[in-house]
């Protein structure tokens, strides 16, 4: 019964090479052989003045479940997969507001939200009720962003693999057997490092000038008109926050306006007696922190020379009404002038422009509109936007549903015409006259291809400021484009102020494994054990006879007798 007694040296020789082989294998092998690997995007994790918000964890290693779980089941070790199409907002609300334990959440977004997959976003099929989808998403985002969620929350895009997995899970759940360690099923694994705080996030402002024509011997400084758009976003999933409308549309409009006026200003005959200042500001979602820093960096003379500033914000998906938001009373002469300039042009273009007045409360740190930063420094300014009311903090800043699919480029083009035309009339003193400087079919017409291509690029570029590095390719591209149209382009790096702290690890790979349960393995062990015992008995009986087998079991007692 003891096979390894003699000939040890020989055995050892062969064993050594075996052991070496095993060690080499252990070193080489990386355990990544999942059935499916999908890209997932984590819910943002941030603190406001030390109060934690968002998803607080990144690593995921639990069984998958669907919404069809048996009521009352313990979900603290289950990752619930929820397709947005069949989102049950009351379930999510219940679990988040009552802080019920969950293993994790995985939301599946329809393909059209995938900005990387161009073919999908072009196809107009699928989501017929896109308005409904948008409201559902907005509600969900509001819930997620303002909650402190102690488990990982991820977003992924629907695809065939994950759909197959989900339908499997649903079938499992329908039979009343939720997947846990003992019943098998699917396991979702994200191995991500602990999210780290982003140390001193940097925001970058870019400005460019189109200097006006100074008359000879005129000692006075030329007045300046500023056109400003904040370019960064804040979204539920930072890696998906492309913000085509908020504020991609503003960036595109600003670039096109800069291009049009650079054409005018390149010829001394058409060069106006106004300086034009173009500014891309960062930190928009955080009370326009970048705008504040940017304005503070101006010297007094420059600040006083600004005649007025127009801020562009979310102008990409409106039908026939735009809003001008101001913080000075409408009776103010400058405000009146701006409003009339814009509304005249709007009437000619065939739509309405409304005026909204919202007073600034200096004691309130919340800055809802970009122009309020100007107004705080007593610079006349207005924001042009499709939003009729001031958004709350971290709202309308480029959420999940704010993508190319929901933005209408003709709306952007009309906004560009409106702003460019009204500024041109102001510069060349044609107020109230029906002159089209930027008429279609002229050499100064708005270029729809330029608008479209920039809109497309912006719709593929997540721009959450804390995750943009100092020399991010996107910032560099924006700077280069502004350099093409304007002079004296400056880039200003500032630290993001205040109360916001962000955490990294916004993207990860999700491995989906089909796993067997522990009971299955136990059963298998039992079967194998009995198989080996049967084999042993069979072999003993056939080769040595039944008596030998019986004597095997008799031997121990006989030994006892001997020792006794």
């Amino acid at each position: 019964m003891s096979p390894f007694k003699p000939r040890q040296p020989q055995m050892l020789d062969s064993m050594y090479s075996m052991i070496a082989l095993v060690f080499i294998l252990v070193a080489c092998v990386e355990l990544c052989d999942a059935a499916t690997v999908v890209d997932v995007y984590r819910l943002i994790q941030y603190d406001i003045s030390g109060v934690p918000f968002g998803s607080r964890l990144a690593t995921l290693n639990h069984h998958a479940g669907s919404l069809h779980f048996t009521p009352g089941a313990d979900l603290s070790r289950t990752i619930v997969i929820i397709p947005i199409r069949e989102l049950n907002i009351t379930f999510v609300k219940e679990y988040i507001t009552q802080r019920k334990p969950l293993g994790g959440l995985l939301f599946l977004l329809p393909q059209i939200f995938d900005f990387k997959d161009k073919a999908a976003s072009r196809s107009e099929d699928e989501v017929h009720d896109k308005g409904l989808m948008k409201t559902v998403l907005a509600e969900l985002e509001k819930l997620l962003v303002h909650a402190n969620i102690p488990y990982p929350v991820y977003f992924a895009f629907e695809n065939d693999d994950i759909d197959a997995v989900l339908s499997d899970i649903k079938r499992n759940d329908a039979t009343g057997q939720p997947a846990t360690a003992t019943t098998g099923g699917y396991k979702l694994v994200v191995s991500a490092p602990e999210p780290k705080r982003i140390a001193s996030p940097i925001i970058t402002n870019i400005q460019g000038w189109l200097p006006g024509l100074k008359a000879d011997g005129d000692p006075n400084q030329l007045p300046t008109i500023a056109i400003v758009a904040s370019y960064d976003t804040f979204g539920t999933a930072p890696a998906l926050s492309v913000g085509t409308d908020s504020n991609g549309s503003g960036i595109v409009a600003l670039l096109e306006i800069a291009r049009l006026f650079s054409l005018l200003y390149s010829n001394p005959k058409t060069r106006g007696r106004y300086n034009l200042l173009f500014g891309f500001t960062s930190g928009g979602p955080y009370n326009y922190n970048g705008t504040q820093k940017w304005l503070r960096s101006f010297d007094q003379r420059l600040r006083e020379s600004i005649d007025y500033a127009i801020c562009l914000n979310s102008i990409g998906s409106w039908d026939n009404e735009l809003w001008i938001h101001v913080s000075k009373p409408p009776e103010n002469a400058y405000i009146k002038q701006i409003f009339e300039g814009l509304s005249n042009v709007a009437n000619e273009l065939g739509f309405e422009v409304g005026l909204k007045h919202k007073k600034i409360n200096i004691s309130n740190p919340r800055v809802a509109w970009e122009h309020e930063q100007f107004s705080r420094l007593r610079i006349t300014a207005a924001t042009l936007s499709e939003l009729s009311v001031a958004p709350d903090i971290l709202e309308s800043t480029g959420g999940l549903s704010d993508n190319r699919y929901f933005v209408n480029e003709t709306a952007v083009i009309r906004s560009i015409k409106l702003v460019a035309e009204s500024i041109a009339r102001h510069i060349y003193s044609h107020q109230g006259e029906n002159i089209k400087v930027f008429a279609d079919d002229s050499s100064l017409a708005v270029n729809p291809y330029y608008v479209k291509s920039w809109l497309d690029i912006l719709s593929q570029t997540p721009r959450v400021a804390p995750f943009l590095s100092k020399n991010d390719p996107f910032v560099m591209a924006l700077k280069k484009e502004l350099e093409d149209h304007t002079h004296e382009v400056n880039v200003q790096h500032e630290a993001l102020d205040g109360m916001f702290t962000f955490y990294d690890s916004t993207k990860a790979n999700l491995n989906i494994y089909q796993v067997a349960s522990v009971t299955f393995d136990l059963l298998l062990l039992l079967v194998l054990g009995s198989y080996l015992i049967v084999l042993f008995s069979f072999l003993v009986i056939t080769t040595r006879g039944l008596d030998d087998l019986i004597s095997l079991f008799r031997r121990p007692p006989s030994r006892k007798v001997k020792t006794a």
Partner: protein, 228 residues
């Protein structure tokens, strides 16, 4: 849990070899040395086979069944038989009966084959989280292979070591030996040429191994009779 599965698969793959050794008289007559030597011979044979395969075979891009290539592969497969011949005839053993010699050689042969072909995939695959039946099936295949190896060794010992065997049985012995020796090619044909799935192939292997074992057992005892 996954390590558990790995151990299960290891038990299924290598357990029968150990059980065979300890249950049969092999352990009583201390034939481990023979088995180890046979395993070393297998190692040498495997290297020779590899060199031959690398020299004569083209690397096929797709997984299709190419008769010419498969024929070549089957011919190279007979290197195994040569190796077995060497192990059975040339290795000097202590006085060990033919009866035990072929069993020890077959056992060592099958064990070395399992270690070389199956341990690494097991270690890599069965420890992963993902569950597949493949490794359990592979373990069953190892069992079939053990039976086939011992049968082949039995037939080989009949062919090369036993002098006075009934003349009528000789063609049958040779035919069986050829069938057993070409089993790898046959299964390869089933898998690629006919597109059989892995479970079906394993089932076929188990079935044929049992049939061949029975036949070779009958042949062996038939040859045993006149001498005794």
């Amino acid at each position: 849990m996954t390590l558990f599965h790995f151990f299960n698969c290891v038990i299924l793959t290598f357990g029968p070899h150990a059980v065979y050794y300890s249950a049969t008289p092999l352990s009583e007559y201390d034939t481990l040395g023979t088995s180890v030597k046979a395993a070393l011979v297998y190692l040498g044979t495997a290297i020779v086979k590899l060199v031959c395969l690398a020299t004569f075979l083209k690397v096929s891009e797709n997984d299709s069944f190419d008769p010419y290539q498969e024929l070549l592969k089957a011919l190279i497969g007979f290197v195994d038989v040569a190796g077995l011949y060497f192990a059975l005839t040339q290795l000097t053993h202590r006085n060990i009966s033919q009866n035990h010699k072929f069993q020890a050689v077959g056992l060592g042969w099958a064990f070395a084959d399992s270690v070389l072909h199956r341990l690494a995939p097991l270690w890599v695959g069965a420890r992963g989280l993902e569950f597949t039946w493949d490794y359990i099936l592979q373990g069953l295949e190892a069992n079939a292979n053990l039976v086939l190896s011992i049968s082949l060794a039995a037939l080989g010992s009949l062919m090369w070591l036993r002098k006075n065997k009934p003349k009528t049985l000789i063609p049958i012995i040779y035919a069986c030996a050829i069938i057993v020796a070409t089993m790898p090619s046959i299964t390869s044909y089933l898998r690629r040429g006919l597109g059989w799935h892995f479970p079906k192939v394993v089932g076929f292997e188990l079935f044929t191994s049992l049939v061949m074992a029975f036949i070779s057992w009958q042949l062996f005892s038939a040859c045993q009779r006149p001498s005794s």
